[in-house]
Structure formats: structure tokens, C-alpha cells
């Protein structure tokens, strides 16, 4: 009987069941190994990051004991938030809010400065990134040297964080919003240039060939063949970047490069904790408004694309 079963070929259904089971086994093993590796690596990182540390805490009765750092530290978050929250009472609400936002004139000025830094940095960054993205695209670069140089330039510009550029530019041009504009602008050029060049690498090359065959220069090919194809994506990425840059410009003042960030530093050093919550609220609302506006605008751009062409 068993011998016979060995010889007779399996029916397709049974063969499928066998193959299916084998495939499932292989998939399970793969998952198992991947999970073990993942958790081992995760635990190692956590250990390096002091997540397993124990620390000494003082109890209410004055005795001291060792505790794991997470339950020991979490209550301090509440403590911090409590410190930053202002005292608001119903009967003196107006006065309390005035007290909370006591520096509102300075803050409003700095807020405008923050948004303007983001705006100008985005404009400069878009220009730089856009121009560089074409020679930095594999399919468009006039030759491999230009490609190499442009790609390295964009890499350096985006690998160095805004805060580091800001430190450098504060050193060069002294404290003030100009350093912030340059820092965020340079980083933006690098980040957008990379994104744009990826868009460029996915375009249809035939229109460019059409321009070339009519006697167009490399610039003509880019201007007429490539730019119209990438424009909707460029606009979308640019608006997204403006949102990111508003966040960046609101913190960059921490190293003296203009905008609201410098107030954070001051509030912390003067221990004016309620100022922190006021500043946080200002930035939160601003970013939300800008995100909302730019999302609407972005959908409009996409909508225009999909709508009936004129």
C-alpha cells in the first residue's frame, strides 16, 4: 500500500496541499528569524539608550530606594507640565491670560519673523534645489562629472542638519534671522533637490528627444521637455516643505538664528516655565493653520491636474 502510494503520482490537489504546507513552513521560519533579529537589535538599542537603567528615588517618607528609570521618571513629566501651565481663574480670566501672554508683543514680532524665515528659506531652497535637481538626475545630467558634483553638493547640503548650519552661519554672519534663512535654505535645497531629482528620473524622455531632434540645447530640453512634466510634483513637495520649514524656523532661534526659538532658551534659563506653554501654543496654532492652508492648496493643485484640461 505505502509502496504503491510512493509510485503513483499524487493527484494535483494533494500535490498542492503538500506544496502549500511547505511554503507556509518556509514563510513561518522566515518570520521567526526576522522577529528574533528585530527584537535582539531593538533590545540592544534600548540598552545602549539607558532604557534599562535603574535610578535612586526619594520616597515621601524620606527613604531612598532603587527604581527602574521609566516609572521613576514618568511622574516628572506631570511635574513639568504642571509647572508650565498658567494659573487661570474664572473671575480674573482676562487678567490671567494677559499675565500668561505677557510678552505677546515680542512674541508676535518673533512669530512673524519665524514665518518669514521659513518663507524666504523655502524660496531660496526651492530655487537652489530645482536648478540643481536636473544635472543631479541620472537621465538628464549632461555628463557624469556634473552628475557627481551636483549629487555630492545636494548630499552635503541635506546631511548637515539645519541646527548645525545655523551654528556655522551665526558664527559667520552673527546672531539674527539671516543665519536662520541661510541655514534652513541650504538644508531645504539639499532635501528638495534630492526629491525633485527622483521625480525627474521618472519622467518620459521622449518629449526631450523631440526637442533635441528639433535643434534644442540641453537647457531647451529641460525647459520644454522636463519642467512641464515635473511641475505638479514640484509644487506639491514645495508646499510640504514650507510646513516643515515653519517648524524648523520656530526652533532654530535656540542657537541665535532668529525667530521664536530664542524665547524658548530664555524662558528655560530664566525658569519662566509658563512662557513655555504660551510659546508652545503659539507655534502649535501657527503650524496647524499653515498645514491646513497648504494642504488645501496642494489638493487644489492636484485637482487642477486631474480636472478637464483647457
Amino acid at each position: 500500500m505505502t509502496a504503491a502510494a510512493d509510485v503513483t503520482p499524487l493527484r494535483p490537489m494533494d500535490q498542492f496541499e503538500l506544496d502549500y504546507a511547505a511554503q507556509r513552513r518556509r514563510a513561518k521560519l522566515g518570520w521567526f528569524i526576522a522577529s528574533v533579529l528585530f527584537f535582539a537589535f531593538f533590545a540592544f538599542s534600548a540598552w545602549l539608550g539607558d532604557f534599562f537603567k535603574v535610578t535612586q528615588v526619594t520616597n515621601v517618607d524620606g527613604s531612598r530606594e532603587w527604581r527602574w528609570i521609566i516609572p521613576a521618571g514618568l511622574p516628572r513629566l506631570g511635574e513639568f507640565i504642571e509647572k508650565t501651565l498658567p494659573v487661570l481663574r474664572w473671575d480674573s480670566l482676562g487678567a490671567d491670560i494677559a499675565e500668561w501672554f505677557w510678552r505677546w508683543k515680542v512674541w508676535l514680532n518673533l512669530l512673524i519673523e519665524t514665518v518669514l524665515i521659513a518663507f524666504m528659506a523655502t524660496a531660496l531652497g526651492v530655487f537652489g534645489g530645482f536648478v540643481m535637481s536636473f544635472p543631479a538626475s541620472r537621465n538628464l545630467a549632461p555628463n557624469k562629472w556634473v552628475l557627481w558634483i551636483c549629487r555630492r553638493y545636494l548630499e552635503i547640503a541635506r546631511t548637515v542638519p539645519e541646527l548645525v548650519w545655523a551654528l556655522i552661519f551665526v558664527f559667520c554672519f552673527s546672531v539674527g534671522p539671516m543665519a536662520g534663512v541661510l541655514a534652513i535654505g541650504l538644508h531645504t535645497a539639499g532635501a528638495l533637490g534630492k526629491l525633485y531629482s527622483e521625480v525627474n528620473e521618472n519622467i518620459d524622455m521622449r518629449p526631450l528627444e523631440g526637442v533635441k531632434a528639433a535643434g534644442g540645447t540641453w537647457f531647451d530640453q529641460i525647459r520644454y521637455g522636463a519642467v512641464p512634466q515635473v511641475m505638479p510634483n514640484i509644487i506639491s513637495y514645495t508646499l510640504l516643505r514650507f510646513e516643515i520649514n515653519v517648524r524648523a524656523s520656530s526652533i532654530i532661534g535656540y542657537v541665535g538664528a532668529g525667530g521664536l526659538g530664542q524665547e524658548f532658551r530664555e524662558a528655560l534659563s530664566l525658569q519662566e516655565y509658563t512662557d513655555l506653554s504660551a510659546l508652545f501654543l503659539i507655534i502649535f496654532v501657527t503650524v496647524m493653520v499653515i498645514d491646513y492652508g497648504s494642504e488645501k492648496l496642494r489638493h487644489r493643485v492636484i485637482g487642477l491636474e486631474k480636472g478637464p484640461a483647457t
Binding site: G210, A213, Y224, A309
Partner: protein, 268 residues
């Protein structure tokens, strides 16, 4: 370079790694001829046209127009040559997202400096020229429409209009009707013939259907494995020759060929 110059290829070869896409081709195209190039897929038809337009450079040999050696042109002279020998592609190669008029004006770019070209600034004379070209191909109503929204046949006629404003001395077309239905194919081929007859422009066109070649061409060149295999008038193209050009297998594919200009009677 006079418009009445002949195009001469002498011992032209193009190698892609090991493949001899074009192999020692010697040809003389007289001014004003309507020449069809036929041959199996991979015979080297497209490569030959691209060599003439200098979209690619030959490995060997010489191409000349009038007294000018084309293969050694560089920079501005090269771009002027590309303008002088307009090229039409199977896939039209228009910019879908630009309007028809701008697509036609691309044919004027060789005359423009950097700034006016980047700003997409064209003169009134150029616009008039473009509209006249569009008018010849019955496309004026579509002038402000995006090129991508046109039908294939219309797009190919836009490409011809663009070629016309280049004021070329010779017109190359690489399977211009291969992605068109018969009615549109006829319109496009008639457009090319009209330009050939009225303007006396030399036309060199790759075709993949024999009946189209027979119907339109003064002269037919057949290529096989990169070489010129037949060169003569339609009447000389006997069944035996055709079998040799395409091979038995190729002939079968060929008879099922989709696009032809002959099988349709157009309403007038």
C-alpha cells in the same frame, strides 16, 4: 547648404556592443525624393534615421549633405543641422502638458538665445508661422489645447507642423503611422506627401507596411540585418524580393500587420 542638396551616406556603420545595427550603408538620396525604408523589426531602420539626424553618432563612415560633412558637426552647427533635417517619431514625442501651439514653436528653438527660450518668448512672426503650419494640417481649432488631449493622429500632425516650422531641408519620419488607425494613418501620410510635392522637401520615411510604401514612395529601400538589401522603385519589389526581405516567418507577421493606409476608404 542649399535646399537642393543630396544626402549621401558612405560606408556608414553603427555598432551597439556586438550588434551591427547599421552595417556599411552607402546611399544617395536625391533632393525632392519621397523615399520609404522597409525591413523587419531590428533591421536597423530607426538607427539609420537617428544617425542622419545625429541623435546618435556613427561608429564608422561619412554622412554628408551638399558639401557639408554631417558627422563632424559640433555645438551650434550640430543643432542647426538637426533643425535642417526635421525628425518625426512613432510616439510623436510631443510635450503632452504644453499646448499645441507651444509644441509647434519648439521647432523654432534652434533660432533662439538662452533667455527668450527659457522665458518661452516667441515673436509674432513665429506664432504666425506656427499657425500657418497648423492650418496646413487642419489643426488651428486645437491650437490652444494641451497636446496630450489630442488623438494620436492629431498629435502626429502636430509633430509634422513642428517639423515644418523648422523650415527643414529634409524630413525624416520613423514609423510615423505605426501607432495610428488606418484613417489617421492616411491623413498623416497624405500630409507628408503634400509637403513633399508642394515644398519639394526630401522625405525619408521608415514604414512597416508594404502597401503604404508602394502607395506613397518614389523609391523604396529595404534593409536587412543593417545592410541595404534592395533599392529601387515599387514595381521592382517582386514577391520573391519581399520574401527575402522579411523571411517566411516575418512575412506571416507582416500580413497580419495592423496599420495600413490602403484598406480604408476615407469619406471625402
Amino acid at each position: 547648404m542649399s535646399a537642393q542638396a543630396a544626402l549621401t551616406l558612405t560606408g556608414v556603420s553603427k555598432l551597439f556592443d556586438e550588434t551591427r545595427a547599421v552595417d556599411d550603408v552607402t546611399l544617395k538620396i536625391e533632393p525632392g525624393q519621397f523615399v520609404g525604408v522597409i525591413g523587419r523589426s531590428g533591421a536597423g531602420k530607426s538607427t539609420m534615421l537617428r544617425l542622419i539626424n545625429r541623435l546618435i553618432d556613427p561608429t564608422q563612415g561619412s554622412i554628408s549633405f551638399g558639401g557639408t560633412e554631417i558627422t563632424s558637426l559640433r555645438g551650434r552647427d550640430l543643432r542647426n543641422w538637426r533643425r535642417d533635417c526635421a525628425m518625426i517619431f512613432q510616439q510623436f514625442n510631443l510635450v503632452d502638458r504644453l499646448d499645441v501651439l507651444t509644441n509647434v514653436l519648439i521647432g523654432r528653438l534652434a533660432e533662439h538665445g538662452f533667455l527668450s527660450s527659457m522665458a518661452m518668448q516667441f515673436t509674432d512672426t513665429e506664432r504666425t508661422m506656427a499657425l500657418q503650419a497648423l492650418d496646413r494640417l487642419d489643426l488651428v481649432p486645437q491650437a490652444l489645447q494641451r497636446a496630450g488631449t489630442l488623438s494620436g493622429g492629431q498629435q502626429q500632425r502636430v509633430a509634422i507642423a513642428k517639423a515644418l516650422v523648422q523650415q527643414p531641408k529634409i524630413m525624416l519620419a520613423d514609423e510615423p503611422i505605426a501607432s495610428l488607425d488606418p484613417a489617421n494613418a492616411t491623413l498623416v501620410m497624405d500630409g507628408l506627401r503634400q509637403i513633399n510635392k508642394e515644398d519639394g522637401l526630401t522625405v525619408l520615411v521608415n514604414l512597416h507596411t508594404l502597401d503604404t510604401a508602394r502607395a506613397y514612395c518614389d523609391r523604396i529601400i529595404a534593409m536587412r540585418n543593417g545592410r541595404v538589401f534592395f533599392d529601387g522603385v515599387a514595381a521592382q519589389l517582386t514577391d520573391d524580393v519581399v520574401r527575402d526581405i522579411y523571411g517566411l516567418e516575418g512575412l506571416r507577421e507582416f500580413n497580419e500587420a495592423v496599420t495600413s493606409t490602403q484598406s480604408v476608404a476615407l469619406p471625402a
